[in-house]
Amino acid sequence: MIDWKNISFENLAGYISEQLRQEGIETVLVGGACVTIYSKNRYQSYDLDFVTYEDVKKVRNVLINLGFKEKSGCFRHEDCPWFVEFVSPPVAIGNEPVEKLNTLETPLGMIKMLSPTDSVKDRLSAYYHWDDTQTLDQAVQICQEQAVDIKDVERWSEREEMSEKLQVFLSRLS
């Protein structure tokens, strides 16, 4: 029996991933939810964004059977503080498809998610394109808690033609 009121963010991600997997639906956790997990809750997201290549109708049926209600594309369980959303595929960071995913075991199921390095790139992408300093902070917070391949972040940033803003990010790490 799920304690919807007190379920942790990470366990909810594991539970949803596992329940969908049992119905043949694979998902990838992306966006701010990865930051919450990697930054050990220094940043708190309130929504779990999943990417799936399966039919959204199939996804909807599973979530509704779990007690979620859909409103404007967001799924919410009445007792649960977090909400769940399914974003359009592909899993990509800027112009690059994501090749390698991370997996995380939770007591309620296994999560497939962006790696810490891809999660940093995902956050930086928002900073690069919209000058969103909150996502810059989030990228830094991931680096403070996880092993991140900074060389790969530099390579990707140059490919995105964002070398100047990359320097801002790097200066925050030192």
């Binding site: 594309g73 359009s88 592909p90 990509a92 112009n95 928002a126 394109h129």
Partner: protein, 111 residues
């Protein structure tokens, strides 16, 4: 022209507008494309859900633009540019390149 690919003609027109004008909002497109606002809003909603466009609220207006993080943006823009070049000049002028006042206008000034 691209209706068979996009599923409807409104999506095609909205995408051409974004290609040429960089950003747009519902009532502006309603006026320039002579399409009911409801259809425009549906098209924008569909494109936003698909990650093709993003929007920001400015005052009471929701402004849409291509999503710079959409992984196929370069290819989509190249494709749209080619398709756009096949449009007759009068259609381009009528719907997408209508001259617009961009300089400031003092508030309260009569037209």
């Amino acid at each position: 022209m691209l209706e068979s690919l996009f599923g409807n003609a409104v999506i095609e027109k909205v995408l051409f507008s974004l290609l040429i004008n960089k950003n747009c909002y519902g009532s502006e497109l309603k006026k320039s494309l002579s399409i009911p606002l409801y259809s425009i809003q549906n098209a924008l909603k569909r494109l936003e859900k698909g990650g093709v466009v993003v929007s920001t609220q400015k005052g009471k207006t929701r402004i849409f633009q291509f999503n710079p993080r959409y992984p196929f943006l370069q290819e989509l823009e190249a494709f749209l540019k080619k398709a756009y070049s096949f449009l007759p000049q009068e259609i381009r002028q009528k719907y997408y390149e209508t001259p617009k006042r961009t300089r400031p206008r003092r508030s309260g000034k009569p037209l």
